[in-house]
C-alpha cells in the first residue's frame, strides 16, 4: 500500500499541477469578469481587488442572455438527437460493409469536414434564404447536423469496428434479424462510445459560431453569437464578454458533471467485455 502511494502521490500532484496551469486562462477570464476594467487590465496584473458582479448581472438581466441560452440549448439538443441517431445507424452499416467500399464512403463523408468552414457559410445562407428558413431553429439544426455528421459517423464506426465479429455471428445464429443484431447486440456494447459521441456533438453544436451568425436571426440567436457581439471597441465590452463567457460554460459543465458517472461506468464496463 505504501509503495503504491509513493508512485500514486507524485503522479497525482504532477497531473493536478498540470491541470492548474492549464486552467489559468479560464481562471483569469473568470477573474476579469469580476473586475472593473481599470483593475482587469492593470499593470502589473492584480490578484487582489474589489470584486463586482455588475457585469454578470448586466449580461443575464439587461442584455437578455437567458433567451439566447434557451435558443442554444434547443438547437444543440435537437442537433445531437438527430445527428447521433442517424449517425449511429449509418456507422453500424459502414462497419459491417466490406473494407474497400466503406473506406471510400468514409472518405467522401470526410470531404465535407476538410473544406474550410467559412466558405460553406455562403452556400448555406443562400440555401436557407431560398427555403425561407432564416431565423428559424430548423435552419441551424439542419446545417449543424450536416456539418457534424461525418464526425459522428466516423467516431461511432471506430467503436463498432472494435466489436469482435463473433458477437455478431453468434447473434445471427441465435435467430436475430439484422435490426435486432444492431439494437440488442451492437448498441449495448458501444454504449460508452455513444455517450462520448453525444458529448462531442453537443459541444460542437453548442459552440458553433460562424453558422449561427449567418443563419440565425434575432429570435433564434445563440450564445456564441451574442458573446461575439461584445467583441471590440470598448473595454467595458471585454468585461461583459468575460462575464458572458463564464455563463455560457456553465450548462455544459453541469451536463458533463451529470454525465461523468455514465461515462466512467460505461468505460469500466467496456473494459470487462473481453
Amino acid at each position: 500500500m505504501r509503495r503504491r502511494l509513493r508512485t500514486q502521490l507524485p503522479l497525482f500532484l504532477l497531473l493536478a499541477g498540470f491541470t492548474a496551469v492549464n486552467l489559468t486562462p479560464i481562471i483569469w477570464g473568470f477573474l476579469t469578469s469580476l473586475k472593473q476594467p481599470v483593475d482587469a487590465f492593470a499593470v502589473p496584473p492584480e490578484w487582489i481587488f474589489q470584486p463586482t458582479l455588475t457585469f454578470h448581472a448586466q449580461v443575464w438581466f439587461e442584455k437578455g442572455f437567458g433567451a439566447f441560452l434557451v435558443n442554444s440549448v434547443v438547437i444543440s439538443v435537437c442537433t445531437v438527437l438527430t445527428s447521433v441517431s442517424v449517425g449511429t445507424m449509418a456507422a453500424y452499416g459502414l462497419a459491417r460493409l466490406s473494407s474497400r467500399t466503406s473506406r471510400g464512403l468514409l472518405f467522401g463523408l470526410l470531404a465535407m469536414r476538410m473544406f474550410p468552414h467559412i466558405l460553406l457559410a455562403i452556400p448555406f445562407f443562400v440555401l436557407a434564404k431560398t427555403l425561407g428558413l432564416i431565423n428559424t431553429y430548423l435552419a441551424m439544426i439542419l446545417a449543424l447536423v450536416a456539418i457534424n455528421q461525418p464526425f459522428t459517423i466516423w467516431l461511432m464506426r471506430s467503436f463498432f469496428v472494435d466489436v469482435p465479429h463473433e458477437l455478431y455471428e453468434a447473434a445471427s445464429i441465435d435467430g436475430c434479424n439484422a435490426w435486432q443484431v444492431f439494437s440488442r447486440v451492437a448498441l449495448p456494447v458501444v454504449r460508452p462510445g455513444l455517450w462520448v459521441t453525444a458529448l462531442f456533438s453537443l459541444l460542437l453544436a453548442y459552440n458553433e459560431f460562424l453558422f449561427a451568425l449567418v443563419l440565425t436571426g434575432p429570435d433564434t440567436k445563440t450564445l456564441p453569437v451574442a458573446i461575439a457581439e461584445y467583441g471590440g471597441e470598448d473595454i467595458n465590452y471585454w468585461s461583459l464578454s468575460a462575464a458572458a463567457a463564464v455563463g455560457i460554460m456553465l450548462p455544459i459543465v453541469m451536463f458533463m458533471m451529470l454525465l461523468q458517472r455514465h461515462l466512467v461506468r460505461g468505460l469500466a464496463l467496456g473494459a470487462v467485455k473481453g
Binding site: L23, L119, I122, P123, I227, A268, G274
Partner: protein
C-alpha cells in the same frame, strides 16, 4: 449536405466577385492563379508547420496524460472534468482569454514578468513567438479532446492482455507502447485524422489573437481564404482555395493512415 459543397466547388470555377456581381466563367483560372502565387505557398508552408507541431504536441501530451490518468487510482473523475474545460470554452471566447494572457505588456504573462523585472519577448508581436503562441493556443484547446478519447480508448483494452504482459514482467512504458497502443490503433488513427483536419481549419483563435500577423507570420491558409472571401470579395478564388485545401488535407490524411497501417494492410 452535398449541395453546399457542390455549389462551392462550382463557384471556384468562376471569377465570382461578391461585390460587383461579376460572374465570368474562367474554368481553372482561379486554380492557376493561386498555384502561381507566393502568398499561397507561403501560407501553405506555414499552415503545415503549425498543424504538424500542434497536433504532434497534442498527441504526445494527450497520450502521456491519458496514460497517467489511467494509472491513477483516485481523483480521476475530477481531474478529467477539469482538464476538459478548455475544450468546452467557445473558441471565440477562448481566443479572447488567451489574448489576455499573451498580450504584450499588460497580458497576464508579460505583466507578471515585468512586475518581477524580467522583460519578456512580445508573444503576439514577434513573428517566431507569434507562431509558437498560436501552436500553444491550439494545443490548449484541443489536447483535452485527445485526452478524453485516448483515455476512453485505453480503458477498452482487454484486461487479460494487460495482465499477461505484466506477468511477463513488462514495465510501465513497454506496456503502453507495445500492448496498449497497437490495441487502440483505429482510435489513434481517427483522433489524429480528425485533429489534422480540424487544425487545418483553425481560424477563430488565430484571427482574434494575431489577425494573421505580425506581417504574415501566422497567416494560415484559412486566414488567407477569409481575406480572399470577405476582404477582397473574390469568392470564386476563395472557393478554389477551399478545394485545394480539401485535396491537400485528404492527401495528408491518406498518407498518415497508410503510414500507421503499413504493417497491417486491410485492417482499416
Amino acid at each position: 449536405m452535398v449541395y453546399p459543397l457542390g455549389y462551392a466547388i462550382y463557384l471556384s470555377l468562376f471569377n465570382y466577385d461578391l461585390g460587383n456581381g461579376a460572374h465570368d466563367f474562367i474554368g481553372f483560372g482561379n486554380y492557376g492563379a493561386l498555384l502561381a502565387e507566393q502568398r499561397f505557398w507561403n501560407s501553405l508552408d506555414r499552415t503545415v508547420a503549425i498543424v504538424l507541431a500542434a497536433v504532434g504536441l497534442e498527441f504526445g501530451l494527450g497520450l502521456a496524460i491519458a496514460y497517467g490518468l489511467y494509472r491513477l487510482t483516485f481523483g480521476v473523475r475530477t481531474l478529467n472534468l477539469l482538464l476538459f474545460l478548455p475544450n468546452i470554452v467557445t473558441p471565440v471566447v477562448a481566443a479572447l482569454f488567451l489574448r489576455w494572457i499573451f498580450m504584450g505588456r499588460w497580458g497576464l504573462i508579460a505583466g507578471t514578468l515585468i512586475g518581477w523585472g524580467i522583460f519578456p519577448p512580445d508573444f503576439l508581436g514577434d513573428p517566431d513567438w507569434a507562431r509558437a503562441t498560436v501552436i500553444l493556443a491550439d494545443a490548449w484547446q484541443f489536447t483535452p479532446f485527445m485526452i478524453m478519447v485516448l483515455y476512453a480508448g485505453l480503458n477498452t483494452v482487454d484486461q487479460s492482455q494487460i495482465e499477461a504482459a505484466q506477468i511477463d514482467g513488462a514495465g510501465v512504458w513497454t506496456l503502453l507502447f507495445r500492448i496498449m497502443m497497437p490495441a487502440i490503433q483505429p482510435l489513434i488513427v481517427f483522433v489524429l485524422a480528425i485533429r489534422l483536419m480540424d487544425a487545418f481549419r483553425f481560424f477563430d483563435t488565430i484571427y482574434v489573437m494575431t489577425g494573421g500577423g505580425p506581417g504574415s507570420a501566422t497567416e494560415t491558409i484559412t486566414l488567407y481564404t477569409y481575406a480572399l472571401a470577405f476582404r477582397l470579395l473574390q469568392v470564386g478564388k476563395a472557393c478554389a482555395l477551399g478545394v485545394l485545401t480539401l485535396l491537400f488535407v485528404a492527401l495528408l490524411t491518406a498518407l498518415m493512415i497508410r503510414f500507421v497501417y503499413r504493417r497491417e494492410r486491410g485492417a482499416f
